[in-house]
Amino acid sequence: MNITLKLFATFRQDRFKIEQRDYPDSILIRDIVAELGIELEACGIIMVNGRHALPEAPLKNDDTLSLFPKVGGG
């Protein structure tokens, strides 16, 4: 299935800003995070289609997965 990956802040360093990738239907968010070489603990915000998601959540075709390190402001 087709997944759009979006990375932000320091996660972009030596990686990318946005990419489309093809994955098997059984893939979980944590698998993609691992494939990207990102420690799960370093993830501050995980969103799928603009909704917060857990690392164990499955994905479906055409989902957008957004990953942020721990960031904040105000």
Binding site: F8, A9, G50, S66, P69, V71, G73, G74
Partner: protein, 575 residues
């Protein structure tokens, strides 16, 4: 012993008073709100003779505690009609604390149509007539004062907007680099202008170190506290790298980035104005991505933004300003926004109120969405020059809405709603509705838990848990605002168990007292209740704790609506 400095602008006298016992344990917001509540009639005109302008450093300001240099400024607000506390960095809080000035209270109005300046030394306050700097911008005032005194002089000043008593006027405070931080919200600059004070200078000669009752205990607690700030990824690294503007992309992804005067929750130009792009731009141009608003700040969320030639444009370039003129006004040019930010600092208007106002002005047809150059012209030549249009715009978002018959006016209690859509970040909507300050994100930053997943997680799109979240944060914030601490210490405080006890240990070691966590919570509750009582006595009821009608419309992409009942909102005050 700390003193109260009191200035009477009616008879142009000043005096030094003992600190009343009831005020001894208070600082910052707790003290300004207590003084305003005790001495200002709630129904008075905010620009009239009975309002008072109060400055108070926090309880830990002037000590070695990290990030403790915030100054509170309080009065009845001409923008909201409520009580107001607005805090800022800069150099004045630390100067006041070391000079033993517990608070500066300015009351009365001069009878003659003349402007004045105040000069504070450890011996007291002197008043002088001011003519030369009238009409001048805040940068010019700071420059002139450094030439007259020295680089160390503290300065608080108003620009033309404050002189003209515009409700969006702020008070500019000199920072350690001779640039500007602001008591931004609620029109405190108009109150200073009504009292005919162009600027206040502070000469710290003869100031001593702040007395610490138990230095060893203080030092140990301060070390734990600073470590907690530095260990937390947001306060220790994220804010110093990307500034608060990292939030553009976060809120865009979450569908909570108010766009085109709150019509959409995402902005197609988000990448161009994002914190990531800003960081790259600053680094490429040789600016400073990291910068503190006061000495001793270890978070360093500020930055110095330069133009293509590497020349200074602005600092303290905040997410709310960039969101407001960016997504909200559909301007995708960071250089235009930076130039507007600098002019807002110079003429002395709140960059949140002005940005929200511009969105309303665009709906009113005063200028098109996306026209950054016209925004710059309007700020400089209309607001800055005090033309009739400029005075309407300088009155804030509600003022423009009223003058032009616009119904999409994002304000609560007359104050512009900042950078998080309350429909898709519901916890912050509760804060906007219930805050004693009018719409104010800093009063109870539910975004932390709704969006950033700091201090747990409460789903931003569901109603469950939002009132309790906002209540707990507003209580904690009222207490933190009394310590002189930057509100960003809340990030480590929410996640690192040692952080808050260390903060309380510092308070105890500073004053030789034995506060518990419960005492600090009680302090926060008492401040909120005191402020609400002032507002109620000024004529506000629970019916003012509501968001504008248009928030019933769904906002894409989640098509979320503002769906709290009156009873649900009013339950906020059940404590």
């Amino acid at each position: 012993m700390d003193k109260i400095f009191r200035v009477n602008m009616t008879d142009l006298t000043t005096r030094i008073e003992e600190v009343p016992a009831a005020w001894a344990g208070l600082g910052g917001r707790g003290l300004t709100s207590t003084i305003v509540s005790a001495e200002v009639p709630p129904t008075c005109h905010a620009l009239g003779k009975n309002n008072k302008l109060v400055f108070a450093p926090g309880l830990l300001s002037g000590t070695a505690a990290a990030s403790s240099g915030r100054m509170s400024c309080g009065a009845k607000s001409p923008l909201t009609g409520t009580i107001k506390e607005s805090n800022a960095g800069g150099t004045t809080a630390q100067l006041f604390a070391r000079m033993g000035i517990k608070a500066l209270i300015i009351e009365g109005l001069p009878e003659e149509d003349k402007f004045y300046s105040l000069h504070l030394t450890t011996d007291g306050v002197s008043i002088a007539e001011e003519t030369e700097l009238l009409g001048k911008g805040n940068f010019a005032v700071i420059e002139a004062m450094e030439a007259k005194y020295d680089k160390k002089v503290g300065v608080m000043t108003i620009g033309s907007a404050g002189e003209l008593k515009m409700a969006s006027a702020n008070i500019s405070v000199k920072d350690p680099d001779s640039k500007i931080r602001s008591h931004g919200r609620g029109g405190m600059g108009a109150v200073m202008g009504s009292k005919k004070i162009k600027y206040i200078t502070i000469d710290g000669a003869g100031a001593t170190a702040v007395a610490i009752a138990d230095p060893d205990k203080f030092k140990a607690a301060a070390r734990v506290f600073a470590k907690a700030i530095l260990d937390h990824p947001v306060s220790g690294e994220g804010l110093g790298t990307y500034g608060t503007n990292v939030l553009v992309n976060v809120l865009h992804e979450a569908g909570g980035l108010p766009t085109r005067n709150f019509r959409f929750g995402q902005y197609e130009g988000h990448d161009k104005i994002s914190g990531e792009t800003m960081h790259e731009t600053i680094v490429a141009r040789g600016g400073k991505p990291k910068h503190g608003c006061h000495a001793g700040c270890v978070i360093q969320c500020s930055q110095v933004y330069t133009d293509k030639e590497g020349k200074y444009v602005t600092s303290g370039f905040e997410y709310e300003t960039i969101w407001g003129l960016g997504a909200n006004c559909c301007i995708d040019n960071l250089d235009d926004i930076a130039e507007a930010d600098s002019i807002m600092d110079d003429i002395g208007v709140d960059s949140i109120e002005t940005a929200v106002m511009m969105g309303v002005a665009m709906d009113a047809g005063i200028l098109p969405f996306g026209d950054g150059k016209e925004v710059i012209r309007l700020i400089k030549d209309e607001i800055g020059q005090g033309t009739p249009l400029g005075r309407i715009m300088g009155g804030g978002a509600a003022s423009v809405g009223n003058a032009y018959g616009v119904t999409r006016v994002p304000v609560v209690k007359g104050q512009g709603i900042p950078a998080y859509d309350p429909r898709s970040v519901k916890g912050i909507g509760i804060t906007y509705a219930t805050s004693t300050m009018g719409a104010d994100h800093t009063a109870g930053y539910s975004v932390a838990t709704n969006i950033l997943q700091i201090g747990g997680f409460v789903d931003p799109l569901k109603k469950e848990g939002q009132v309790e979240l906002s209540r707990n944060l507003q209580i904690a914030t009222a207490a933190i605002d009394s310590t002189g601490m930057c509100i960003f210490v809340a990030f480590p405080a929410l996640d690192i168990p040692e952080c808050l006890p260390a903060l309380i240990d510092m308070l105890n070691a500073r004053f030789g007292i034995s506060l518990t966590g419960d005492d600090v919570t009680e302090l926060g509750k008492n401040i909120l209740k005191l402020e609400r009582k002032f507002n109620q006595d000024a004529g506000f009821t629970n019916k003012h704790d509501r968001l504008p009608e248009f928030f019933q419309e769904p906002v894409p992409p989640h098509n979320a609506t503002w769906d709290f009942t009156d009873e649900e909102i009013d339950a906020f005050w059940d404590f």
